[in-house]
């Protein structure tokens, strides 16, 4: 199972995600409240996978995704956002996100997306 970093400005979403991930036998190694914090924690924690919100203060998820992939081009990132419009989803996937889930999410959906991302070549 994987070491995962959660990046989301919503405490409620982080809490819900953490419960889902831990129930799925993953380990949540860090939680960040915006893109800037996410990058710092990514550098120090070297997680196997990052769940990344899009709409956040200070640095949004798309900018954060670009930075994470600049640090590690093989970074596995699953976007989890309420913003489900096509151009944002395509932009994230074209940049290199492994998957994109829209909120509100369910446990099965999150765990499947993470499993798929971890098993990508």
């Amino acid at each position: 199972m994987a070491n995962i970093l959660i990046v989301d400005d919503s405490g409620m979403s982080r809490k819900k995600l953490k419960t889902i991930l831990e129930n799925g036998s993953h380990t949540v190694v860090g939680e960040a409240q915006d893109g800037l914090e996410g990058i710092e924690q990514f550098k120090t924690l070297a997680p196997d996978l990052v769940t990344l919100d899009v709409t956040m203060p200070n640095m949004d998820g798309i900018s954060c995704l670009e930075s994470l992939l600049a640090i590690d081009e093989d970074a596995r990132v699953v976007m989890i956002s309420a913003l489900g419009k096509g151009d944002t989803m395509l932009e994230a996937l074209n940049l290199g996100a492994a998957n994109y889930i829209t909120k509100p999410f369910e446990a099965e959906q999150v765990l499947n997306a993470i499993s798929d991302a971890l098993n990508m070549d």
Binding site: S10, G11, T55, M56, P57, A82, L83, K85, K103
Partner: protein, 292 residues
């Protein structure tokens, strides 16, 4: 939904006490015929398929019937038949009032006519109210000239009411929205929509209602307007606006969202038009703000 509006009218007329109405509505809830139940009874869907559709409804802003058809569980023809049957089962409040001996048939008929007259509904409008079509009912209450901005506001409120029904409270009653130059609030969770439309959206309520709303959405018991409560309502707004922006995108209108913000004891000034839509929930009143 007609039963809720009519029930509210019955209280206003003091024909029943709140306790009596609650008793009646609890009986009504127990016999309310849902589309899924109708589908099972008609033998056109299995309970597994119904459960599957209910599960998908928590993830998608779509009605039971739409999902059932797209999943291949129902044909359009079957859905149409079920919807017809469901409409005929929307008289339960009146039926129970009569069955319980709280009103006789004559009093019920007269009360319905009074309601239509006092609320100022035409025959066509009262049929819309009885149709159980949330979007049409919301549109009915937005009694404003249908400019482009009012249409946008109407779509926003229709989606909002559907989300309240999905996530918070089936017993929502919308009142007539109004426009204002300024708006004062106690607790306010807001979010800016940016891009082709610049709109400040938000939800306001007093302490107990804000807390209860947040508790239901967060699915945990909260005791006051703390960080988790603020966060939960912010996330509700984020989900609402995420869907709204996605719907706009399908019409080639490109918008984005700013991070949600919480404010307390403050005032909002009108941009070009400031709309406020009051909504009565079973645990109190909220107001939806749409400042464009």
């Amino acid at each position: 939904m007609f039963n809720k509006y009519f029930g509210n009218y019955i209280l206003t007329r003091k024909i029943l006490t709140p306790g009596q109405l609650k008793q009646v509505l609890s009986k009504q809830a127990s016999i309310r015929v849902k589309l899924g139940i109708l589908a099972i009874e008609a033998g056109v869907m299995t309970s597994f398929q119904v459960n599957r559709v209910h599960k998908l409804q928590t993830l998608q802003d779509r009605r039971f019937g739409e999902i059932a058809v797209s999943e291949g569980f129902l044909t359009e023809g079957m859905l149409s038949e079920l919807l017809d049957r469901q409409k005929t089962s929307q008289i339960t409040l009146g039926q129970i009032l009569v069955d319980e001996g709280l009103l006789d048939y004559g009093e019920y008929e007269s009360l319905l006519a009074d309601y239509q007259k006092d609320a100022g509904f035409s025959d066509q409008e009262i049929q819309i109210l009885k149709s159980n079509n949330t979007d049409a009912i919301v549109s009915l209450f937005i009694d404003m000239e249908k400019t482009g901005v009012v249409k946008l506001f109407s779509e926003y409120i229709e989606l909002f009411v559907r989300n309240i029904i999905r996530f918070i409270d089936r017993d929502v009653i919308i009142s007539k929205p109004y426009q204002a130059d300024t708006y004062c609030f106690k607790h306010y969770a807001g979010q800016q929509i940016t891009g082709d439309h610049a709109i400040s959206t938000g939800i306001s309520a007093d302490d107990p209602v804000f807390t209860k709303f947040a508790s239901i959405y967060a699915q945990e018991s909260l005791t006051g307007v703390d960080e988790m409560a603020r966060d939960a309502i912010g996330e509700f707004m984020n989900s609402q606006n995420g869907l709204f922006v996605s719907n706009l995108y399908h019409k080639n209108i490109n918008c984005d969202l700013a991070p949600q913000q919480y404010q307390t004891n403050s005032t909002i000034e009108k941009r070009n038009q400031l709309f406020v839509a009051p909504c009565e929930l079973s645990f109190g009143k909220i107001e939806i703000v749409f400042n464009i």
